[in-house]
């Protein structure tokens, strides 16, 4: 698998890079701790008033929070850095170096930059998930575990597709620096299962910015709320998202090289 091998090579280089900056590790740890602390405080506040929120118990919501932090870590380590690099490469003209390499441009652009310290969120997310699973009434069987894993991978691929589409816009509009902050803002809504939101917002968070698939669906798998139909829908939508984002990226490339003019 050439893309995975390339990703591994860049991961190694990214790790070498980040290991030089130990202060970033402590900053990231502090940030994760603050995020976890506020999340737990809000959950505590809610469940001091009620026993369930829209059918979700306290441990189930803790599981949602765990997936949210975990997925946030995956985005921070693997997706966002390469996309930001792609954007700056297009702006500064260093994208030419990517284009002259004998590799698939999308693959190379998608693995070029990795931020290791953001991985703290992945660990914190896993710990929160472990605690949530321990508190859940339902036992977690192998089928749920596999469904969770599959849903998580599909969710990550969808978020990647979303980032790729948004970043590709840089081929037309060079200054889209605020996109990352905008995404972070929207991503915060994934702390809660999207089923608690009104329909218009639920649909937007499912199909426009695929946060429902990235966070709620994997959490549903863990809490035995996931139906095979939802997982199949996620897989289908994931494939479509990947294909559409790739097609859009290629249109962007043609624009960059003047082939579409």
């Amino acid at each position: 698998m050439r893309p995975l091998r390339l990703a591994w090579l860049f991961f190694r280089v990214g790790a070498l890079n980040d290991l030089q900056y130990r202060a970033n590790f402590w900053l990231q740890l502090l940030q994760s701790a603050i995020q976890l602390g506020t999340g737990l405080a809000v959950l505590g506040l809610i469940f001091s008033q009620t026993l369930a929120l829209n059918g979700w118990s306290a441990p189930a919501l803790l599981a949602v929070m765990g997936v949210h932090i975990l997925m946030g870590g995956v985005i921070g380590v693997l997706i966002r850095p390469s996309m930001e690099r792609l954007r700056s490469d297009i702006r500064d003209g260093t994208f030419d170096f990517v284009l002259t390499k004998p590799e698939d441009v999308q693959v190379l652009s998608s693995v070029r930059e990795i931020r290791v310290w953001q991985g703290v969120d992945i660990l914190v997310g896993l710990v929160v998930l472990g605690v949530a699973i321990g508190q859940l009434q339902e036992s977690l069987g192998p089928i749920e575990a596999v469904a969770f894993g599959v849903a998580l991978v599909i969710g990550a691929l969808m978020i990647y597709s979303f980032w790729l589409v948004v970043t590709t816009v840089a081929f037309w509009i060079v200054r889209i620096d605020e996109i990352a902050e905008l995404f972070e803002g929207v991503y915060q809504s994934g702390r809660w299962p999207v089923t608690i939101y009104p329909e218009w917002l639920r649909v937007s968070l499912t199909f426009l910015v695929p946060i429902a698939f990235a966070v709620t669906v994997p959490a549903q798998a863990l809490t035995q709320r996931l139906t095979p139909e939802t997982l199949a829908l996620a897989a289908g939508f994931g494939v479509v998202a990947l294909l559409v984002s790739r097609a859009f990226f290629r249109i962007g490339l043609r624009r960059y090289s003047g082939a579409s003019a």
Binding site: R5, L6, L9, F10, V13, L16, N17, Q20, D92, G93, T94, D96, F97, L99, T100, K101, P102, E103, L108, R254, S257, G258, A259, A261
Partner: protein, 342 residues
């Protein structure tokens, strides 16, 4: 005759760029109804370069040099015309083609900023799928040729501009490309570092038989490396031939330098011989028409106690300048009316 390494026929590239007047109102008008105009960056360029040839690509800023290089390396899609490099159509960006070329841009870096160059070299080895033994051999050869020593073990951010350019150049050639596109490879470097990069390119060309197309504002680069130059201005070729004949074709003048014997009268009027360019340490430089040079030299030798006399072409920078100046005066108006609005 062997197949040319680079074949370019009637190559054109037109960009559509937004235009607006200065000022607030114009900005608002442009926001509502944007005006565009076409810029013909390259307009009908044709040339061929044989395998192993080193060619200098000269022209002022905005002449179309970089646009042409980008079309040759597959970065830009031509508006029309034909390009073939090593038998490939560059804009298809086939992996087999990209493995055989390289592009060096003097003002841009591809190495990982915070890591020693050796780590970036490893990454390039994987991207170009080089055999570890071949890679090590080439890398060590370049480290020696460019006198890189420990530079490859220091984080790139700690290197000086010249040192960085050396490790960048080595990185760009690790896969032993057959065609080199060098866009201002020595820009901003001091003279010693320029020489080092220059001799490295020459040595690489000698060892690998690679074809090199070089753009540079430093004529020393061109004089040291290129027998042949292509002069481009306003997207058109003005001259394609040997560097040595450029002066003969484009400069109507010669410079005669005269040194008089000791004891010669101090106040001599050289004006009747030609235009006096200057005098320094007893050496007087006179500009004369190319055809009159032998005659004037004969008169000088006859009239004055000459110790030394040379007839030279003007410096190549002056020749190039006069080429561009002449072309600007003759060039038709290239800026068309706004072509489209949207």
């Amino acid at each position: 005759m062997p197949e040319p390494a680079i074949h370019v026929a009637d190559l054109r590239k037109t960009f559509t760029v937004p235009v607006r007047e200065g000022g607030f109102l114009a900005a608002v008008r442009s926001f509502v109804r944007r005006q565009h105009r076409e810029v013909h960056a390259v307009s009908g360029v044709s040339f061929e370069i044989a395998p192993g040839e080193v060619v200098g690509f000269l022209g002022p800023n905005g002449a179309g040099k970089t646009t042409t290089l980008k079309m040759l390396s597959g970065l830009l899609y031509p508006t029309s015309g034909e390009v073939r490099v090593l038998g490939h159509v560059p804009s298809r960006r086939e992996a087999a083609y990209l493995r055989q070329i390289t592009m060096v841009m003097g003002n841009r870096n591809q190495l990982q900023w915070d890591l020693p160059a050796l780590d970036s070299y490893e990454l390039l080895r994987a991207i170009y799928r080089l055999h570890p033994d071949d890679f090590r051999k080439t890398r060590d050869e370049f480290i020696e040729l460019l006198d890189l020593g420990d530079l490859v073990r220091k984080p790139v951010r700690n290197l000086s501009l010249g040192e960085r350019m050396k490790v960048e150049t080595a990185a760009a050639l690790l896969h032993r490309p057959q065609v080199l596109f060098l866009d201002e490879p020595t820009i901003g470097l001091d003279v010693t570092m320029q020489k080092r990069i220059r001799s490295f390119v020459a040595e690489y060309n000698r060892r690998c038989g690679a074809t090199v197309l070089l753009t540079s504002h430093y004529m020393a680069d061109v004089q040291a490396l290129c027998k042949r130059v292509i002069v481009i201005h306003h997207g058109r070729i003005l001259f394609d031939g040997e560097l040595a004949t450029l002066a003969a074709d484009f400069s109507a003048d010669k410079t005669i330098a005269v040194t008089l014997k000791e004891g010669a009268p101090e106040r001599i009027d050289f004006a009747p011989y030609g235009e006096v360019l200057g005098s320094e340490d007893g050496k007087v430089s006179i500009r004369v028409g190319r055809g009159r040079a032998p005659d004037v030299a004969g008169r000088l030798l006859h009239d004055l106690p000459v110790a030394d006399l040379t007839i030279e072409d003007p410096p190549i920078e002056d020749v190039i300048e006069s080429v561009f100046a002449g072309a600007s005066a003759e060039a038709p108006e290239r800026t068309p009316e706004p072509a489209a609005t949207r």
